[in-house]
Every structure is written in C-alpha cells, then in structure tokens.
Subunit: 341 residues, 3 copies
C-alpha cells in the first residue's frame, strides 16, 4: 500500500478549516480518536466521544469550535467536523486507482464510444453503442449493455451489470454485484399461468448516485425507473420497476420498494424496511428498521412498525395474545359499558 | 434503437382481437393511456384508469368489450386486455437479440454440447459436459457449471451462475446475478464448531421458470431442490436446499423460503415474506408483504402477520404495550371475574 | 458424474465408528433413510425419523448406539451420527475438483503470488500483490482485488468478488456472487446532500468461514470488519462496516447486521432477522426468524419479535387494534381503578 502523508497546514487550507497548532505537522493517516497513533489525524463528530479528546494520541483532531479547548493536540476547526472527515478520507483511500485505457482482456464493441480518459477493467464487456464518459472507471468483469450512457467520473466497481439502455449521471458510484436494468417483475395471468411482459422502460440515475453491492434496480415496464440526484442506496436493496426516488434520499441495506411507488426527496429508510407498490411517500420521511409501509405517507416525520426483540419466553406469551387482540378490545368495551351503565 | 412499426390489423389478428377501427393504422410503440402519443397503442386493464380513455392520444387501445364505447380511437377488443398487452409487449422489446454462436472470448469446454442455434456471450464459461439447447441465450459473463442442462429457448441474462449438475427446463428466463445451485446451508455441530455437509443434490427447474436478479437457489443436501413449471421468482429471493415450489407460484422480491419447505401451486407471496423450514404450504396460499410463516398452512387464502407503519410517536406507545399484552389479558380476565362475580 | 464406491469397513474406520455388520459391503452413495436404495448408506440424526429404520433399503445406517437395535441392516455406531454424515458427505460430492494452475483466460497480475497448487479458474482476475495460498481454488469469473490474501485450502466458487486488501483465513468457503470488501455505507450530510466517506478499513475473515451466495460484507470505515473463526453465513446476508462477529456464530439467509455492531460467539440468527447498528450482542444469543433487535442483548438465550401468520381476515382485526393498544392499556387501568376504588 502506498504511503501517503500530507502537511497539516495543507489539509487545513484544503478543508477550509482554522488551524490551531503547527502547520508543518506531518499527517500520514486517519483514525478514530481512540485508535489514532502519532502522525494520524482524528475527528470528533459525535459529542459522546468527547471524553476521548484529552487522551488521544492523534497528532491533530478535526473538531467543532465548541470543544476545541478540550484538545491537547493540534486542532482543525470546522462547523461540520464529520464533513471534514468525509472529505479528508479520500486522501487516504488505499483503493487502487485504475489507469486509463481498455484492458486487453476486455471486450468492447467497436460501436461503443469510450473516452480516452476512461478505464475499462479486465474481463469487462462494453456492448454496442454504449457511451462511456470521461474519467469513468468500469471495474473488472463488469458488463455494460447496449446503448448505456455512463456519465463522467462515475465509478463501477468490479462485476457490476448494466442491462441495455441504462443512463447513469455524473459521479455515480456502483458497487460490485449491483444489477441495474433487470427486467421488472410483470406478468399477466391467464387461467392460472403467468405470461411475461417485456419491460420496455429504462433506468435513469441522476448525478452522484450510490448503488450498493448486489442491489437490484429493475427497468420500467413502459415508462422509466428514475433515481434522483444524490440518492444513496446501500447493499442488497430492491427497487422495482417504475419506482421513482427523489433527490438525496438514502436507504440502508435490504430495503425493498415495490413497483410504481414514488418516494420523495431527503427520505431516510432504515434497513430491511419495505414499501408496498403504487404508493406515494412524501419528502423527509424516515422509516426505522424493518418497517412495513402499506399506505401513502404524506407528512414528513419518523414512521415505524413491528416490535423489537424480547426473550422468546416473554414474546410467546404476548404474540399469542396478539391473535386475541380484537376480542380483548371488545371485552374491554363490554366491561366499560357494564361499569358505566 | 431500431424503429419498429406494425399494422394495427396485423396486431389484431395476431392477438385474436376484434378490431373496431382502421386496420391500416400504423403502430410504432406501446404506452400507458396517459402517456401514449399518436402512433402508439395503449391498453386498459385496471378499471380505475377508465377515466383516461376519453382523452388518450393513443392511436389504438386494447380494452375489454364492456368499455369499448368509451373510446374515441381505434379499439382492439379482448376479454383479457392485460394478457393482450403482455403478448404485444414483446413486439416492442428493445433488448438486443444476440446472434447464434459462441463469442470468441467465451470459454467452452470441448466436452460441452452447444446447439448451433444457441448464443454464448462474451466472457461466458461453459464447463464440461454441459448441454445447451436450441435457441438458448447465455449472457455475457455467465457461468454454466459442469453437466448442466439448459432447455431450449431459455435465456440467461448477463452474469448468471449455474453451479454443476443444474437442470433448466424450456423457456426459462434467468436474470443477472442469479445463482442457481449454490451449496445449501448445512452443518453438523460438534462441541460448538460447525462442520460443513457437502450438498449432493441438484436444482431442477421446470419449464417457463423466471428467476430474478441476484436471487439464490440452493442445491439439495441429498435430494434435489425442485422449482415447478411456470414458477416466477422476483429479485433477491432465497430458496434454501430441498425446497419444492409447485407449478405457477409467484414470489415477489426478497422472499425467503427456508430448507425443506414445500410450497404448493398457484401461491403468491408478497415481498419480504418468509417461510420457516420443514413446513408444508398448500396450493393457492397468498401472503401479504413481510409476512412470517412459522407453521404449516393447509387452506387456500390470504395470510398476514406483523403490523404496518404508524408515526414513530404513536408506534412507540403501542409497541411498549405489546410487551405487556399477556399481563393485560390477565388483568382483563380478572376484571371480568370481579364484575360478573 | 464419476461413480465412486467405498468399502463399509473403510468408512467405519475413517469415521471412528463401531461397525456391526459386514465390512465388505460396497457403499456407492449416501441418501435419506426413506430414499436410500441398496448399495447406499443412510443416517439417523433426528429421532422422529426412527420409524423409518425398520424398513429402510439402505445397505448401512449411521446411528447412535441407543437405536442400533431397531436396524435391520449394517450399522455404524457414532455418538453424533449427523457429524458422521457431514464427514462422509464429502466422499460423495459430485462437484468437479479443479486442477491446479492458472486457466489461460484468467488475468493474473505479475506481482501476485499464486501457489503452484492453487487453481485459478477461467475468466478470473487476480490483481496486483494478491497472495493466493496452497490448494486454494478461485472459481471462474471471480475477482481478487489488489493485496488480498487467501489462506490455504480456501475455496471461492465462481463469480466471487474480493475488493482490495481483504484477508481470508484457511479453509474458507465463499459461494458465488458474494462480495467481500464493498464500501461501507458512510456519508456526511451537508445541507441535505450526502458526501461519501472513503472506507479505509479492511475485511478480515478467520479460518473456516463460510460466506453464502450473494452475501455482502462491507469493509470498515477506519478500522476493519472482522469475521471470527468458524463463522457460517448463509445467502443474501448483509454485514455492514465495522461489524465484528465472534467465533462459530451462524446466520441464516437474509440476516442484516448494521454498522459497528458486535455479535458474540456461538450465536445463531434465524433468517431475515436484523440487528441495528452500534449494538453489542453477547455470546450464545439465538434469534428466531425475522426478529428485529434494536437494543443490546447481554444474556444468552432465545429472542424473538413480531408475530406470525394468521388469516388476513383475523389479522386485519387484530392489527387495527395494535394501533389502539396504548389507549386500551389506559382504559384497562381506568377500569381497574373504578372497580378497586
């Protein structure tokens, strides 16, 4: 792994942070307050970790101005230290940076347009009339279907699949195993047998979209499936056909969004939550983990369903009663009548 | 994308529909009633969209006879307009049609039998003694294990994996990232450590089976995992070892079926539902989304579990009470005794 | 498929079993008691199948001493017959055994170190400075990122992805479609937009780890994601960044573990269960299927949440009442006051 190190003063000016300390300090890594060694920079984003400030061995810490006095080392002052950490993290990313050019084992259709600054990895496939923008990285074993467009600076990690006619904006980041443009799950039933409906729509991703590992996004049946700018999808998510997701919404792993549902902007969905089909979910809706949504949600806010773990012994007693709940409610009402009557 | 257009009279006769209107109308696309432009054909399957019939710009609409009078344009009459749409959709499918033959970058074992009408995509692998039927399409980067059989007219999209000794019927449609024949999750425990059990069974898919993107179907431990004719599996589904699924059952995304469970025919399982292992589920059982099945189900019908989303504020109050449910039931009974006593 | 057969006496001595019967019996296969044909060996692990002992056509049965008298055929006596079956199963595994060497279609970086006894399958990619140990199998189409280490006797099935800097112990078994080392889902929010945080940590797998098909394990943000020795993960599981899982824990399909959660040793998690982030789960914690854990669990034991399937008709009545549960509890308390008052 390449050793990299930077001058603290350069880091401060790049992040737009006020530096209190020695600008010539050499910073060779990024770590948590607890784990940092001398020569590393740490950050304090969560106030509950402030207790680690006094004893950190880090050579510098990114903090908000309010806690700067608690640091015994160099500090970089930022209103949003976590954002500072996010930006700085890329300086220390050990991920290999692929060279521009097409690997000799890749198969690129002669009719595809591949920017000279793009990198096409080993064993990749780029099919007819695909357009690969400037500085795009297509990872090893990835497959780019016919007539896809991949916007500049987008990165596809190894073994991504784009079916035909998929549009990716700029700076998208698609993780390994993701499948974008798989056929939507549409069938017509005749006498009990299912007849497949060809899926004629596309998938359109905006700019700065993240698609997690082994996540699947189906193409639309007639119209397109549309993922807004800045949307972040974690691993193993299912986005069904004709779904639309508004800008800057984020979904944790294993979320499922059924067909034709419209999700607003700035939503945050917890892991394993699910939204039924043909619903409309407004902006700024948050779902806690494993929540099931089966009706429209118009108002911003936090929504939940289900129950959380109890000992099996206790749970069994209560779960049995769930099946008697309506009867209990009726009995309760009956009692109330008797007493008030 | 190739422009295609068809004569309305030809469409009518191919679908077996009665045409009311001009058979020479040129139809160049398929769209929803709301989105259709002149030159396109639309359909009305869901009666709640009938209000769009009057104003549609479509050049023709597939409808059932009962609403034909509400159309101001050419109509094709069918008892099942949705089925007509399903059939017609394939006429307008922009997916590239691969040419027969083995791509020069594919690796095909000399002992494999590949039909001359089959297409083996770039970077694909076909291992020893596999049998690839007539008109089969093996997508780019797909891997067909030793001794697999892929029935005629089956289509494997890019990057599908079949492990060894897998049997696919005719006209199966396997989406990208699917893994068929992964080892079942079987271990023997000795003093706390798990010892892997080799999975000796196969996976047998009937005819007309759909397997969604990144769905996994495990091979059997001793006997086979069996998927019936016409079964449709959406994306990210898990079918464990030795499961059997009856003909024409359909499962939405993210369903999990645990080991050795038998699912009947014509079942429909909603997304994220799960069935525990070693159960028997009869025919025509429907599960709503995120339902957990932990006992046999013999009777046809619709089954559900869980709760659906509420505001987090309300939900917290109620979820806390779930843990007191048994106690509440006892208190209720106590009150009833006192009052009736 | 190669025919294999073994002498019963040899099987007994290899398994350390006491043989009652004819050591020269020829055993050509392994089957369940019910399905076994003459020439096959079966086993009895689950006492509820003891009724099949009398009539089995198997030529030998592995049983515990307590039921040996009920067998009419040759018996192998073992205290843990299921373990005996597990060990014997590998003798009859029809999976092709790849030959050592690098397939001519594979792309191996010159700086990678590949043991001469390792097998690198067709269309595989091994990137710079990766280290592939003795007797390792890298399946077709798998991608091994830069500087990965794969311990001896580990087997990667076709189409596995290891990102860069991943460490696998000895005898790991990674199924098709698994992605190990995908970027953790970490973003800093600024004015509603998400900024990606580079994920600088690694994934470290101990020895004897199983990773199921299409399972994803994210690399750590700063520290590593750590999977202990003997951990068994089924298909379509999500392990988020900085999770640690203790030795010999097992998780069924579709489990999700959110970021930074610590899971103890010898845990068993049922399918589709989920654990929220930043939690600590102790040793020997069992979760039943679809359980949601949103708090720490310190005590060993079985834990559950949710409800299980009921007819939709009944369920609807009860699920509606769940939303009134807090109100019901208050009304109940009110009644109690009135009656006791």
């Amino acid at each position: 792994m390449t050793k990299r190190s930077y001058r603290l003063g350069d880091i401060a000016s790049e992040l737009g942070a006020e530096l209190r300390g020695d600008p010539d300090t050499d910073i060779g890594g990024l770590a948590t307050l607890q784990a940092a060694a001398p020569g590393q920079i740490a950050f304090l984003a969560n106030p509950s970790y402030a207790r680690y400030l006094a004893d950190t061995r880090a050579s510098a810490v990114i903090v908000s101005p309010s806690v700067a006095d608690q640091c015994s080392t160099n500090v970089l002052l930022l209103d949003n230290p976590y954002l500072g950490y996010a930006r700085l993290s890329h300086w220390f990313d050990p991920a290999p940076v692929p060279r521009p050019g097409v690997h000799e084992s890749a198969v690129v259709d002669p009719s595809a347009q591949v920017s000279q600054s793009a990198s096409i990895g080993p064993q990749a496939v780029v099919e007819a009339e695909a357009v690969i923008g400037d500085h795009v990285v297509i990872g090893a074993g990835s497959i780019i279907g016919a007539r896809c467009t991949v916007g500049e600076h987008s990165v596809l990690r190894p073994r991504v699949t784009l079916a035909h006619d998929i549009v990716l904006g700029k700076r998208c980041h698609i993780l390994s195993g993701a499948v974008i443009g798989s056929d939507g799950f549409g069938f017509a039933n005749e006498k009990g047998a299912w007849h497949r409906i060809a899926q004629l729509g596309r998938v359109i991703l905006g700019d700065d979209v993240e698609v997690g590992a082994n996540t699947t996004i189906d193409r639309g049946a007639l119209d397109d499936t549309v993922i807004g700018n800045g949307v972040k999808l974690d691993n193993l998510i299912q986005i069904a056909h004709n779904v639309s997701i508004g800008d800057h919404s984020a979904m944790a792993a294993m979320v499922g969004i059924a067909g034709s549902t419209r999700v607003g902007s700035h939503c945050v969905f917890g892991g394993q939550s699910g939204v039924a089909g043909h619903l409309t979910i407004g902006d700024q809706v948050h779902l806690t983990g494993m929540t099931l949504v089966s009706n429209d949600i118009a108002e911003p806010g936090v929504y939940s369903s289900g129950t959380s773990a109890d000992t099996n012994r206790q749970w069994r007693k209560n779960a049995v009663r769930f099946r008697q709940l309506d009867a209990m409610a009726r009995r309760l009402k009956e009692l109330e009548k008797k007493i008030q009557g």
